[in-house]
Symmetry: C2
């Protein structure tokens, strides 16, 4: 605590999350059986998840990872509405919209249901083998729920600030790749990428960090290339 | 659904929230007894809650509402860390930091605990009579929990986008005042204030909307003036 400042710190509730693991195992088994690579995409509201997703749908269709057809599927999770599902469906992704009702995150059971709706019946060549779960916009609870994905991908956007790893540490700890989005707006925000990365490194030494702009596409290629390799490797391992 | 787009919509979980009401009643009784006006401040991560709060601390100290001393108290709720508590304590607010552990929102029981820590023992003139609860950064669950506040105040920031009322309808429905923050960054974002207000009005016909910039202070005075009147009126009603 800074000298001269005086305030109490009280722990009001310990975090406990339930027996989600059984369903996460079922998700993994389903993905293995159907040859699906599943990405859990997490971020705050308005961080640019859908815009990034649209670029990924294009990039993976044009140049698919080795061993994967280019069809991309999207599970859109929202408390309500279907604006993002429309956007990604218009972009050509096979899409399912999940409404989570009052829930601020996806758990593994919901994910399994979405996966089965998206890939279950259709065993043909058009069935998506790369599936993105666009989680509810939230930096807290989604981090607590292992949905059984192959990759936990998170976005932090420049307008949110470089201090977010300090306030939402679990999200930055469990994620396996960080996109720092909206770099095209950097001149109007006091966002220090080096400070952000230092804050991230205190929690997560290995996670790759890709600064990029979903809007302009700047910085996108290194990330897509990394993701393509990672998906292709997962195929080789199976 | 737009013609030609085909996707299923599945309700995966009904929202249920518990017997928070008993504690909300205790919060109201505590506030009545101690002459406290309590504001529940809600927003996404990085929407500018703390910056707005700092300006409010200054404005209410310099020109307090009729019948209220100018001392402002802040209950900072975070999953972890105390960066915001330091900031508002440096600004001169009496502050308590609550750590919510794994919880992504404040409930009324936690709020009562924070209030008692902030205002309980100290019955002197310096005890804060205007208290802001800076809720966890989240547009979902905080909306579901009535913490017993006199005013539900929410912030939406320009970088988040004008479609947020569509995706997080409950927050925009239950809130009683909306600040559209970071208007100084409007030129780099495709944010249409009229469209935003239309989206809000579909959910909430009466809520006042104040566009402003926490950073530059632009647009702040009409909001502070509205808040000052509202606080003074609450005093008159008691």
């Amino acid at each position: 605590m800074t000298a001269g400042l005086s305030f109490d710190i009280i722990d009001v509730r310990a975090g406990v999350e339930e027996e989600n693991e059984k369903y996460a195992g079922e998700v993994r088994a389903f993905c293995r059986e159907h040859g699906i690579y599943l990405v859990n995409l997490m971020a705050s509201p308005g961080a640019g998840k859908t815009t990034v997703l649209c670029r990924l749908i294009d990039a993976l269709r044009e140049d698919p990872p080795a061993g994967f057809p280019g069809a991309v599927g999207v599970i859109e999770a929202d408390v309500d509405a279907d604006v993002d599902a429309r956007t990604v469906a218009e972009r050509g992704a096979k899409t399912v919209q999940l409404h989570t009702g009052g829930s601020c995150h996806m758990d593994a059971a919901m994910t399994l249901r979405g996966l089965k709706a998206l890939c279950g019946e259709n065993e043909g060549a058009g069935s998506p083998r790369i599936v993105f779960l666009e989680n509810v916009g939230n930096l807290v609870c989604p981090a607590e729920f292992d949905v059984g994905a192959d990759l936990k991908l998170m976005i932090l956007s420049v307008p949110e600030g470089d201090d977010k790893p300090l306030k939402y540490p679990l999200m930055f700890t469990v994620s396996e790749c960080l996109l720092v989005n909206k770099t095209d707006t950097a001149e109007v925000f006091d966002f220090d990428l080096d400070r952000c990365v230092r804050n991230v490194r205190a929690l997560n030494e290995e996670m790759p960090v890709f600064p990029l702009s979903g809007r302009t596409g700047e910085g996108f290629e290194p990330f897509v290339s990394w993701l393509r390799d990672r998906i292709a490797e997962s195929r080789a391992e199976r």
